[in-house]
Amino acid sequence: MSIRISRFMLGVLLLSILAACGGATATTAPGGSGTTGGATTSGEPIPLGIALAQTGNVALLGQEQVIGAKLAETYFNSKGGINGRPIKLIFQDTAGDEAGAINAFQTLINQDKVVGIVGPTLSQQAFSADPIAEQAKVPVLGPSNTAKGIPQIGDYIARVSAPVAVVAPNALQAALEINPNIKKVAVLYAQNDAFSKSETGTFQNTVTQTLKLELATVQEFQTTDTDFTTQATNVINVNPDLVIISGLAADGGNLVKQLRELGYSGLIVGGNGLNTANIFPVCQKFCDGIIIAQAYSFAQENDVNKAFRDAYKAEQKKEPPQFSGQAFAGVQVFVEALIALDSKTKLDTLSLEQIREQLNTQILAGKYNTPLGEISFDPEGEIIQSKYYVAQIKMDETGTNGTFNFIR
């Protein structure tokens, strides 16, 4: 009996696989038309791919990016889309690994036939998936890939996220403004995270070369660690005036908490991995005072950022974080480049290959006024951003809610 049941189950499984393969030809997007906000959009929507980590261990960051991208879709469609045609974002989850990013990119390029891709979340995933887009000649904008060498992957690869080497030193300058007597610095970083590793290199260089401070100790931890007593004790033993942490939200937050609990009272500079409201529940009242350099400030004064900030606040009841801002900017660059391209040659007269190719040239040529401020690209695809910011975390009395206060 049990064998009969299992054979039946196997049959069902095989059938469902067959059915799935058979259905592969029957997916064409229906033409959409609608009236959203002030302007009317009609005609076949233009598909833009979004490949972000919606699941897996980087989902905390990926989900913030998804929110930003969705807000951009609504905002630009309400402004008339691409000269009247709506834009349609197609989301494919990359999860947290390389193979997932490759699968998502392939699906977007071949099945969803997108004109371009915003993603992936991690630099390591970008090293894996971007060459595929390069080979297929599909423009890619990295919304949060900050490692060295990303735009150099190919002609079609660009990013809206400034590399760590440019952003991070701003936080140290800000710390010195708060406390000019800083002499001894302790550095901690997550050894197994690509981002933290390159970020700590920048921090350490700035400390020793640019600012000529004493690098008293360098401690390593893992993003999966939960107990940081050893590292925290070693740090406190050298009695530093400033602690610099490069890690991700969960481990970084815990580390801050344990440092404070063990009695460290000086300034703390956090890396970009800590640059999210998701650390508030982790370090609670101990988050107070962490200084983080920002590529994005919600206080940035331009119309598009005001619209973005209002929309984000209406939906999420808090200030927008950098990851959402960058994802928004990624979509915006695509939309504005598409509009510029469409004004030159009507998009529906071009084949998908032509759109992808000319769109890439257009992206690199343009100047964009995004929530990040004025941005443009160098010929390799590296972002040129006019302004960077520094924020300090301020927690309320209960220690549950916090805000990023911009100090620079």
Partner: protein
């Protein structure tokens, strides 16, 4: 159809890779040894492939020669084999859960090493690995024959003295020893064969993934490969192969189902966003309904028995 191959070419290659990694874990399992070391050898092979193709072989522009890839796989396999013998002889003195723990430690040591060495590029790893093929599907030219060869090898292995010896050790190590089988020799043999296979797949996989870093071959991967063998079936080599292919394809299948426009939006959202929930659920259901795995030797033993019985019946 071209679209289908363009979209799922990668997935097919991944399925074949994972099938071989499942086999590499199944080999020591044949001798009843729960070793989780495969990802370690996979990572080692990958680093060998990555370092050789970016630092040693300077290919002129254009496609990276396939012969170099094969050479890297050979080196990767050999290095993994040698390391497996060195590690295997002391480690395989341990049994059951202790062996599993020791092999987890081994994987962890390799990971920490690769994070700290400069040649492996630390946490960022090695990127810009040159491509031997212009389409991902073409990796099957190497991976396909390798899988077929290893399956044929396993098919033969299960039927010759060495394979029988492994089964004997699995069933009762003391009794096997009493019959004149040298358990250590055969256990190390199976462990080493598995390591060689994992090392070769690693070297190829480094090219396929374009980049290699310490996130490849971790403890998580050990558990994934073990799932391949458990869901597929751990009594015949077909089990891990089928298990690996099904489990690799399933999340992508659900992604695909979520993209069918004819389905109601709620069902599509469930498929897209609940992919991993469904995946987990199916694994739980799989272990309940197929405690021995999907593929068990009983499947074809029954067929053979009915065939054998029929002529006898006709004589009556």
């Amino acid at each position: 159809m071209t679209d289908f191959f363009n979209t799922y070419g990668n997935l097919m290659v991944l399925m074949v890779f994972n099938a071989m990694l499942g086999l590499s874990l199944y080999l020591p399992l044949m001798a009843g040894q729960l070793s989780l070391a495969s990802p370690g050898f996979y990572a080692l092979g990958g680093y060998i492939g990555a370092v050789f193709s970016t630092k040693v072989f300077q290919s002129s522009d254009g496609a990276f020669p396939v012969s170099y890839v094969l050479l890297e796989m050979l080196v990767g396999g050999l290095a993994s084999g040698v390391l497996a013998i060195v590690v295997g002889i002391p480690a395989l003195r341990l049994r059951g859960i202790y062996l599993a723990l020791a092999t987890i430690a081994f994987v962890e040591i390799l990971r920490v090493l690769s994070l700290n060495l400069t040649i492996t590029g630390g946490a960022i790893g090695i990127f810009g690995i040159p491509q031997p093929f212009n389409r991902p599907l073409k990796y099957l030219y190497i991976a396909g024959p390798l899988l077929l060869f290893s399956m044929f090898f396993m098919y033969r292995l299960e039927r010759i003295r060495a394979g029988r010896a492994l089964t004997a050790i699995r069933e009762d190590e003391l009794a096997a020893g009493a019959m004149g089988i040298n358990p250590t020799y055969y256990k190390v043999l199976a462990f080493t064969l598995g390591a060689i296979l994992a090392g070769m797949v690693g070297a190829l996989s480094a090219h396929f993934l374009n980049t290699w870093n310490a996130r490849q071959g971790t403890f998580d991967a050990s558990i994934t490969y073990l799932t391949f063998a458990l869901i597929g079936g751990s009594r015949t080599f077909v089990g891990p192969v089928v298990g690996a292919m099904l489990l690799t394809a399933l999340p992508e299948l659900l992604r695909f189902l979520g993209g069918i426009d004819q389905l109601p939006q709620s069902v599509r959202d469930l498929f897209l966003n609940g992919r991993l929930i469904i995946f987990g659920l199916l694994i739980v259901l799989g272990t309940i309904f197929f405690p021995q795995g999907i593929i068990t030797p009983r499947l074809w033993e029954r067929r053979r028995r009915t065939k054998a019985v029929r002529p006898a019946e006709s004589n009556l």
